[in-house]
């Protein structure tokens, strides 16, 4: 009944607007905005170009940890598995999207952010609490958009960069951009080697002495290409190819008396293609993507052993299709319909069958209605798969500007879901093909107040409060036969606050920017159906209740200096919140500096950064030490021809 009501409501809106459409210049409002930015009013964290310049050679985990409300779980050191925690949820509750397609692993549901170089993308946006109706499965925490906007100024440039640093790290990259009237092309290649042999104090040993991290080297190669063709009659083609090859040694847990022989190779290929046709009142778009991932993990007890005792290979394939039609009735009303298809396939000996495949189909309808000082957003998706049946999800948002548009009030409500991953369903033993999808609901309220907005000064403050409820959360636990099994075991409540204060002012030749944020996350299990030998509510593990971040930067002519500080509060590592096993709070401070100058057509950038300048000892995952103070210096040479 409620779906019928929603459809009826929008049909009514359409009928009211159609009569007026001829008198309005629709072209003014046609923009090729992403689906999210068009139909959601959630507060986003956009990494702007100034911030990006500091993190150009950093992987995405470092950038997000320093600059967004997220927490990163990492095994310590460049290239080690790093996953995101947003709003107290799991890593498979954050959908990471590249130009509109989710790149989350279909075997685990998470995304290893250490594999992603942030410099490849023109636009990085974090959307805490993103809706499932726009992004599909797994957005209890939110979503990340990695987009390549095709807005290069006309001309040609080529960049060479080298960045040596602590712990025997060298990053090399080369990048070329060409932008003409009808074509934009970019290719970027980078190669990273890091021994990651930082010194740490192993407090998991009795009478510890400083020692070097061993078996922790990274060797990676990335190539990234994007292309945009502007064709006659308002046709455009966008395409991209992204290849990652990573070889990583995996260190032993702290406290171990052996070096370890674990290794992992990741080989990932991603490609997408999008055709768009802009009409007088509409955009028609056909997109497709093809992703493959190969993971090879090996372990042997002794380096001299001929055979591995773990030798695991997983080959996965994802194919996506997205057919959408967006219609701009007038400046106020926009409606989009889309059909989406996703085929996932895995080949591995770790599963019940060597080959497992799964198809998902979705129909999506989204609408935006703008009034003078307010906006309504709505989206609805109905996803279908043979295993899980129909999963309907929606999102509704209202935005209102008051007090001379100084105060913007945003509110939204959505229901969400997460499909069980292939590992959760098919792993041998323990995979559970009878798993239900996780489901839940979330509500966001976000007031944002602009205290001052002048040419030389901007001051604004924002606070988002949210509530989420997750049912049937999936957990791996030993069953009655002592086989670790995936089961729908938990119910979780999450209440939180994301607040930030931004100040930018210009004086003389100085530009100062000051951003600070505080996040409160109360993320608790309210019910556990098996193994609930503890008191409720119990806080979720690896979720800091308090965290705060600060970024201060100064620009003076050709010099930039930035200072970044993060405080991460206490985190529990056991479900019963045993105080003996908490991760202690810590503070990390980084210093960034840049200087650039030009000689004819050559631009030279010199960057230096000190990461963890006070040499804090901390762990992002218990028993995996993070590096101490590290210094990196980079030189970038750019040749540019207009």
């Amino acid at each position: 009944m409620k779906y019928k009501f929603c459809i009826a409501f929008f049909l009514l809106l359409i009928s009211q607007q159609i009569n007026a459409q001829d008198t309005i210049q629709i072209k003014e409002v046609i923009k090729s905005e992403t689906r999210f930015s068009q139909y959601s009013n959630l507060k986003t964290e956009i990494i702007d170009s100034t911030l990006k310049s500091y993190y150009k050679n950093a992987s995405l985990d470092e950038l997000l940890f320093k600059q967004t409300p997220s927490f990163i779980k990492s095994y310590g050191g460049l290239g080690n598995l790093s996953t995101i925690v947003l709003r107290g949820s799991n890593s498979n509750h954050v959908s990471v999207n590249w130009n509109g397609f989710p790149i989350n692993s279909i075997s685990t549901g998470g995304t290893d952010l250490s594999l992603i170089q942030s410099g490849f993308f023109n636009n990085i946006t974090v959307i805490p609490g993103a809706s499932s109706s726009l992004y599909g499965s797994g957005t209890f925490g939110g979503a990340i958009e990695l987009n390549n906007l095709y807005n290069q100024p006309k001309g040609f440039d080529i960049r060479l960069e080298i960045e040596p640093g602590s712990f025997h790290t060298v990053k090399n990259s080369i990048e070329t951009n060409y932008s003409g009237n009808s074509i934009q092309y970019r290719i970027a290649i980078d190669k990273i080697f890091a021994e990651n042999d930082f010194v740490f104090l192993d407090n998991f040993k009795i009478n510890p002495v400083p020692e070097r991290r061993k078996n922790n080297a990274l060797n990676s190669f990335n190539i990234f290409q994007t292309l945009k063709l502007n064709l006659p009659k308002s046709n455009t083609i966008e395409a991209g190819i992204w290849y990652i090859l990573k070889y990583k040694e995996i260190p032993e847990i702290a406290g171990s008396y052996e070096t370890g022989n674990k290794n992992q190779t990741d080989s990932i290929f991603r490609a997408f293609f999008r055709w768009k046709k802009l009409n007088k009142h509409s955009i028609f778009s056909l997109s497709t993507a093809f992703f493959t991932e190969y993971l090879h993990y090996t372990d042997k007890l002794n380096i001299a052993d001929l055979n591995y005792f773990i030798d695991s290979e997983i080959n996965s394939l994802s194919v996506f299709s997205d057919l959408s039609y967006r219609y701009y009735f007038n400046k106020k009303l926009t409606i989009e319909f889309a059909g989406l298809f996703n085929r996932q396939k895995i080949q591995t000996s770790n599963y019940i069958n060597d080959h497992i495949a799964d198809n998902n189909y979705s129909l999506l309808m989204a609408a935006q209605y703008k009034l003078l000082k307010s906006e309504i957003n709505f989206s609805f998706r109905n996803e279908f798969s043979l295993e899980l049946g129909f999963i309907p999800v929606f999102n509704a948002g209202l935005t209102k500007k008051i007090l001379n548009e100084k105060l913007t009030l945003k509110s939204s409500i959505s229901n969400k879901f997460r499909r069980p991953t292939f590992n959760e369903r098919y792993w041998l033993p323990g995979g559970n093909s009878k798993l239900k999808h996780e489901r839940g609901i979330s509500v966001d309220i976000n007031p944002e107040y602009v205290l001052k907005k002048e040419p030389n000064q901007l001051i604004k403050v924002s606070a988002t409060t949210y509530y989420s409820k997750i049912y049937d959360m999936i957990q791996w636990i030993p069953d009655t036969n002592q086989v670790w099994t995936a089961v729908n075991n938990n119910e979780v409540n999450i209440i939180g606050l994301e607040s930030d204060f931004n100040l930018i002012f210009k004086k003389n030749n100085f530009v100062y920017s000051f951003n600070t944020s505080y996040n409160y996350t109360y993320s608790v299990q309210t019910n556990v159906f098996r193994h609930s030998n503890f008191e409720f509510p119990a806080k979720l593990i690896y979720t800091p209740e308090h965290s705060a971040k600060l970024f201060f930067s100064t620009t003076y002519k050709k010099i930039n200096i930035g200072l970044s500080t993060q405080y991460i509060g206490k985190m529990f590592t056991t479900q019963d919140n045993n105080l003996l096993y908490v991760l202690s709070p810590f503070v990390i401070t980084d210093l960034y500096s840049a200087y650039h100058f030009k000689i004819k057509n050559y631009l030279i950038d010199i960057n230096a950064k000190i990461i963890n300048m006070f040499n804090s000892r901390y762990q992002l995952i218990k028993s995996y030490p993070s590096p101490g103070r590290a210094i990196y210096v980079s030189i970038r040479l750019t040749y540019k021809k207009e």
């Binding site: 008396y257 030993p478 036969n481 500080t565 202690s584 709070p585």
Partner: protein, 352 residues
Amino acid sequence: MTLSNIFHCLIPLLFVGFASCKPKPNPINTVDLSKGVFIINEGNFMSNNGEISFYNTDTGELTNNLFAAQNNNAVIGDVVQSMCISDSIALISVNNSKKIEIVDVKDFKHITTLSGFSYPRYIINVRENIFYLTNGKNPGEVKVIDTEKKEVVKTITVGNQPENLLLFSNKVFVADGAWGHDSTISIINATNDELIETIAVGDGATDLAADKNGNIWILCQGKSAYDYPEETESQLVCINTERLEIIERVTIGVVGDNYHPKRIASDIKTGYIYYVEHDGVYKMHTDSPHTNYRFIIGTFYGLELNSESGDVYVFNDNGFTSSGTMTVYNSEGQTIIPALRTGIGPNGAIFK
């Protein structure tokens, strides 16, 4: 001092107020370890939260986190697999930390740490100052540890993935084949540390117990669904320790249920053998081994028998997500100590 320098100095101070100290376990000033039960808490794999608990049988007091409390909050390590005591010392095998921790058995103070083990599992005291440790996988080995020299003095190659050991009649019987990776027992001369013989018994020999007749019962857990496409049956196999021949073979459990029992215990006084199945602790008499019955209903990870009292100690891992429990039953199956909260993942105990 420039503005950025001032910021630089002040910013960390802004966050000092957030920081708080990690709670430490209360130091135990006087802990009486003279008589009781050391409980081995594995901890959750990859979490470095294994520990030892001590249950004082006279006072009924349970002390958790014994190692941390007695050693300035030191961490014992990841996956505390087993423990063995002699008159003066205790050896603790910490599997994923790949070490043996040696402590004073009187006060549990650290003495030394032995390293150089790839996959340490179970330990027994063979003779004065000499302990055997099963270690490694394919092939496995028995490390002969001299605690006076504090070093490994000999390595004996045995079957794949050796698990428990049993000293009986001056021979050490080693169960080879955890998770079905082998199907033998290796027999070592406890006097000269030489391998005597290897006997095929059944897939997945993992635990052993002597009975009242001077025979040895071997728990063969079968091939595991973890590593093999098809499981094989779990068995109790009895061998004569003089002739080293199989004299009895009893199938237990059900093939295809994904359950592979790991624990066996023997009451030499009464002749009963206990073992853990997926739905409880089972009991059978060595005189009628094909007749068994469920003695305690429940799901258990660990099983021990107090040979003095005949009481049965069972351990629940509680999913390794939080504290486990220890419950004690008398030989009639009546609860005599209700579930006590131990450390994480208790798998067994040592009686002192």
